[in-house]
Subunit: 138 residues, 2 copies
DNA sequence: ATGTATGCAAAACATTTGCACCTGG
DNA sequence: CCAGGTGCAAATGTTTTGCATACAT
């Protein structure tokens, strides 16, 4: 019963919000742009405006229900927040996104921030490359 | 004689390109957006269009003369390429940008890419935080 | 001369916002 | 009922592009 999640986040349980959540939970791809979510809603027969999708995703981010990844090229994709911090590997050919966790890197980052006198609030790490699958097709 | 750099890069030596290069080399701030460069040119009395600044910076990036950092919010800043790979620390208060090099992280990234079957082509790491300077002012 | 570069204005893009209307609690 | 949510269209901010003109070699 996901309405609970919304209520807990201080958000009214509205149809657009429930539907966006549903898309994120059931989509084949874990990482979706606002546009992706919007298209999925249309395919599902829901009449929800793109502006609303943006607003809802931004609210979800604020509520900690999803996290936003800023891809370069200035567009963002969202993923359901599952509590575990992780970083991303991106295939430059097929745009596949994989996730990884590495405690050594996490620790080094904290050390570096400290050395530089920074109070670390966040960090983002993307590794770009050609994934296994794409390496095979020439 | 920076005209050499341009020629080597296969770019004609034109006034806009020389001036942009000059700005990048003499500016107080190492990291500049296209808009920053454009404003600096105006202050210098040069009549160069913003579109040209974008084109020139993109060509410089292709030629390996500068590198582009994608800040979130979908805008980019450029820095002169000095050959040394480094990552960045960003102050979320004053937008100051500091650089660091960490061989441990570099190595871990290679290992992770390999484990995941990726042929790594690049990576980007940003640590966000509050810099020493900003921590003092409450 | 001639293939590139440039300037300008318009287009493109992802995202945000103003506002009148609708809706959940 | 009423604060908050939504849809639409228009605005935004950054970057790109089309095209006629100007320039480097």
């Amino acid at each position: 019963m996901e309405s609970q999640d919304l209520r807990k986040a201080g958000l009214k349980v509205t149809l657009p919000r429930l539907k966006v959540l549903e898309i994120l939970e059931t989509a084949k791809q874990r990482h979706m742009s606002a546009e992706d979510v919007y298209k999925a809603l249309l395919e599902m027969g829901e009449e929800i405006g793109l502006a609303t999708v943006y607003r809802v995703l931004t609210q979800f981010e604020g509520a900690g229900l999803v996290s936003r990844l800023s891809m370069d090229g200035g567009h963002a994709v969202f993923e359901l927040e599952d509590g575990s911090h992780h970083d991303h590997l991106l295939c430059v050919r097929c745009n596949r996104i994989e996730e990884f966790i590495d405690e050594v890197i996490e620790q080094r980052q904290r050390t570096i921030a400290e050395q530089k006198g920074f109070e670390m609030t966040d960090h983002s790490l993307y590794i770009y490359g050609v994934c296994r699958h794409c390496q095979q097709e020439k």
